[in-house]
Amino acid sequence: MALSLTMGSDGLTFNDPGNRKNMGKPFFFRSSSNTNYSLSTSWTQGHTTSNFTIPKKSHLITHFHYPIRNDSSSWGGGYSRMYYSVNDSSWIFCGDYGYCRGAMGQGKYMISGCDWQNAFDFSGMTSDFTVKFRYDHRTHDGSANTGASHGYSNADNTNYHGATAPWVHYLVVQGWQYL
């Protein structure tokens, strides 16, 4: 069988159907904070990342986590929204995630957390670019908070994992170039 792989500056390319067989550069970013955001029925801007520099033609999988606490017996509830911005353009709204993202129930205090994933296809970006992410929150009624009174404790050191502050809000970005 003839060799059907070619090596270029951006990676390896198979001479086979389907560009899934291209091998570009994988990469990884993360952003975290232990800021507390007090929530009401008005939208509050929560965890917002700095710009990540992304190689052209990349795909991203994002994983965001936050805690939420509702100290009341009303519905409480964590409405959430996500935004992203490319090359510092205006924020692009990714939709209302509704009140199914934590601490939404009637008649009981609730403390919970939320994880969500998104998949981005930036293969149309022909130059390296920057992207940042933003997460906003509000309650259905009453008040809540995300970031305080959740019982987090500090990490032992910064070896390997990189922070002594607990990862209260955190975003992990996994990505790779698609040739």
Binding site: L5, N22, C94, G95, D115, D121
Partner: protein
């Protein structure tokens, strides 16, 4: 696979470009036996805004399209299932993740128990998350895969997607071909790569 000798006389195995992938040289444990990478990373994303009611009988809430995968694919599967059920009973939600290879029958990877929307006297509204790692190491040629999720309650009834306050985002593919505008709804994300034994 070629080899060199280091200054201490230890053989150093060279990485090799093969017709079917990249065969890596030195490695230990898993990385030594699973040393042929047959693809780069890939991903698929499937979303549905359909509302699906469920009760004590299992009902399919989402079926993905057909995914084309490389030999020996390793997959990381994430599901997000928004849930509501207006009940003061326990409520609860079971999710059963199933797969079909090359159009064959459905196989369950196991049912997650009542780990979401489960509380007495509270009418909780939550999301159910599943994460599953799948290793198709025994499949040595390209293949297709579909996934689906099925749902039922512990008691009290419930539904997927409906009355969860979810709303679409901005319809924009200016930068992102996936268009995140419907991403808040029920979603299955698959990421992976092909990697297996070179022998």
């Amino acid at each position: 696979m070629g080899s060199l000798l280091s200054s201490t006389g230890v053989a150093i195995l060279m990485s090799t470009l093969r017709p079917d992938g990249v065969e890596f040289g030195n490695g230990y444990g898993y990385s030594a036996s699973e040393n042929l990478q047959t693809s780069g990373w890939f991903h698929y994303r499937w979303t549905t805004s359909a509302s699906t009611g469920f009760d004590g009988t299992s009902v399919v809430g989402q079926t993905t399209g057909t995914m084309n995968l490389p030999p020996r694919a390793k997959l990381f599967v994430y599901t997000n299932t928004p849930l509501r059920g207006d009940t003061n009973a326990w409520g609860g939600h079971y999710e059963d993740l199933q797969y079909s290879v090359n159009g064959g029958g459905w196989t369950s990877v196991g049912r997650s128990g009542f780990v979401s929307r489960m509380m007495t006297d509270n009418q909780p509204i939550t999301s159910h998350k599943d994460f599953c790692v799948m290793d198709f190491n025994s499949i040595t040629s390209d293949f297709t895969l579909q996934l689906r999720t099925a749902h039922f309650h512990y008691n009290g009834g419930g539904n997927v997607n409906g009355s969860c306050g979810i709303g679409n985002g901005t319809d924009s593919t200016t930068y992102d071909a996936n268009n995140q505008n419907i991403s808040p709804w029920k979603q299955i994300i698959v990421m992976g790569y092909g990697q297996g034994s070179s022998s």
